[in-house]
């Protein structure tokens, strides 16, 4: 279980997160929606300490920390409990697909090489890329790179996998393969927090949807609550706009 309490983060005078609380149960798929600049990505990055939050508390599994007083050791331990999937994949360019998945195990966790290799191959198999284990990122398509990115994140067997707009950088025809992998992970009971603009994914896969706006949670609930009976005026406007854009895209195709 993950619990985040009252996270605040400002860049200079610009307050991005103004006190956000989220609770994620084991096996949950939580989707965070919201206009750009609402703080979705920053929230995710704070949970993984890619950004240092100014204030707040967090509990992951059996570990609790305070963002203000967190120590280096705790950061390392928390990172081991969470995997991160980047918007632009961020695969290690000087490592093959297999090495990308292995490195967190061998160097981060000191797992013996043979064992790490076996685990990594299993993970690549899970995202359907075991045949391309010896390809470098530059030899893979965007969708394939992102699937390796997902394999890399789940290889460490984290309590939660954080997805930061995992399909935003992809060509439309490659989005499907990545979403498919994510759906499968959800079915396998992997806990996920997903920032995305893919409404169909949010509707079909999420069991909890959070709508963020202006650094706070404006509304949250089940997908039905949010998509069919939104209460908040800003949620309604946002959904209307996104759905219209989706429709326009469909017309173009």
């Amino acid at each position: 279980m993950i619990e985040v309490r009252n996270v605040k983060k400002a860049f200079g005078d610009n307050e991005i997160l103004k006190g956000v609380d989220i609770t994620v149960q084991k096996g949950d798929v939580v989707v965070i929606l919201g206009p750009s600049g609402s703080g979705k990505t920053t929230l995710l990055r704070c949970i993984n300490f890619l950004e240092k939050a100014d204030e707040g508390q967090m509990t992951i599994g059996d570990m609790s920390i305070d963002f203000k007083t967190v120590k280096k050791k705790e950061i390392k331990a928390i990172r081991e409990k969470s995997g991160f999937v980047f918007q632009n994949y961020c695969l290690f360019n000087n490592k093959t697909a297999l090495e990308n998945v292995m490195i967190g195990l061998t160097i981060g966790r000191k797992v013996p090489k043979d064992q790490a290799r076996e685990t990594a191959m299993k993970m690549l198999d899970r995202v359907g890329l075991s045949e391309r284990y010896d390809y470098y990122p530059s030899q893979l398509s965007g969708g394939q790179q992102q699937r390796v990115g997902i394999a890399r994140a789940i290889a460490l067997n984290p309590e939660v996998v954080l997805f930061d707009e995992p399909t935003s950088a992809l060509d439309p025809e490659l989005i499907g393969e990545v979403l498919e992998v994510m759906k499968e992970l959800a079915r396998d009971g992997i806990t996920m927090i997903v920032v995305t603009h893919e409404m169909s994914f949010a509707r079909d896969v999420a069991n909890h949807v959070i709508f963020m706006d202006g650094g706070v949670i404006a509304e949250e609930g089940t997908p039905e609550d949010i998509f069919d009976h939104p209460q908040n005026e800003r949620t309604k406007q946002f959904l209307k706009r996104i759905l219209r854009e989706d429709e326009e895209k469909q017309h173009q195709i």
Partner: protein, 248 residues
């Protein structure tokens, strides 16, 4: 009188080559210091601390804007003076090669720090973030992920600077270091300056060959690093084919 005596040219070669190990030694030592201090300066220039950054940037700029021979004269004549004034130690008798290595290291490290810094900045921030999120420490991320990629980018520039360090060793004769050049001048004196032209052509040939070998080594290093990133241009043909067909 012939314009170029082949026999004098051939005769001078083995005599000149006697001092090749000395020049290589100076180059080798200066490269060790240039590369390590260059890395240190590059690191300083990437610090958040404005004072450290400014100080190093200022130093590098001064060194970069000084001709090598002027820098050499300053260290050779200046440092012993400073030492005897402040510490009462006379170091004028120290081996001249010391001043040569010192100056070359200052000269090389300043320039190399720039090449290293820009290469480091060329690596996307996400690489280190991904390393962190995989549980690697900053040092581990640097050694395993960022440095190999940055080295690949820096290598062509570093290669040029390494060759320029080699060529600058030739200035050592001006403070009386007996290296390849000093030795060639002595040889000329011994042979009554009868074949100056031939001797210097032979000397040029030696430098030229060394530059070629260095450039070749650096090129091989670049290829090896490029292959480690799966860059197409450096792949063996059969591998390239594999990638193309399997992408279909």
């Amino acid at each position: 009188m012939e314009i170029f005596s082949i026999s004098a040219f051939l005769e001078s070669l083995p005599v000149l080559l006697e001092y090749l190990p000395f020049t290589i030694g100076i180059l080798g030592l200066s490269l060790i210091f240039s590369l390590s201090f260059g890395l240190f300066f590059a690191w300083c220039k990437l610090r958040k601390n404005k004072f450290v950054r400014g100080l190093v940037a200022f130093y590098v700029q001064i060194i970069q804007g000084t001709p090598f021979i002027v820098l050499l004269f300053i260290t050779y004549f200046g440092i012993p003076k400073v030492f005897s004034y402040y510490f009462g130690v006379d170091i004028t008798s120290w081996n001249k090669a010391f001043y040569m290595v010192l100056t070359l290291s200052m000269f090389g490290s300043a320039r190399m720090s720039e090449a290293m810094r820009s290469a480091y900045l060329a690596i996307p921030k996400g690489q280190m973030e991904a390393a962190h999120s995989c549980g690697l420490s900053t040092l581990q991320g640097f050694l395993h992920i960022v440095m190999p990629q940055a080295l690949y980018i820096a290598l062509p520039n570093l290669g040029n600077l390494i060759v320029s360090n080699l060529l600058e060793t030739a200035v050592g004769f001006s403070i009386g270091v007996i290296d390849l050049v000093g030795n060639a001048r002595n040889y000329n004196t011994r042979t009554y300056n009868l074949h100056v032209f031939e001797v210097y052509v032979a000397l040029a040939l030696i430098y030229w060959l060394m530059s070629m070998i260095l450039a070749k080594l650096i090129g091989e290093g670049e290829k090896a690093l490029g292959r480690r990133q799966g860059l197409r241009a450096f792949e063996k043909k059969e591998n390239r084919k594999k990638v193309q067909t399997s992408n279909v």
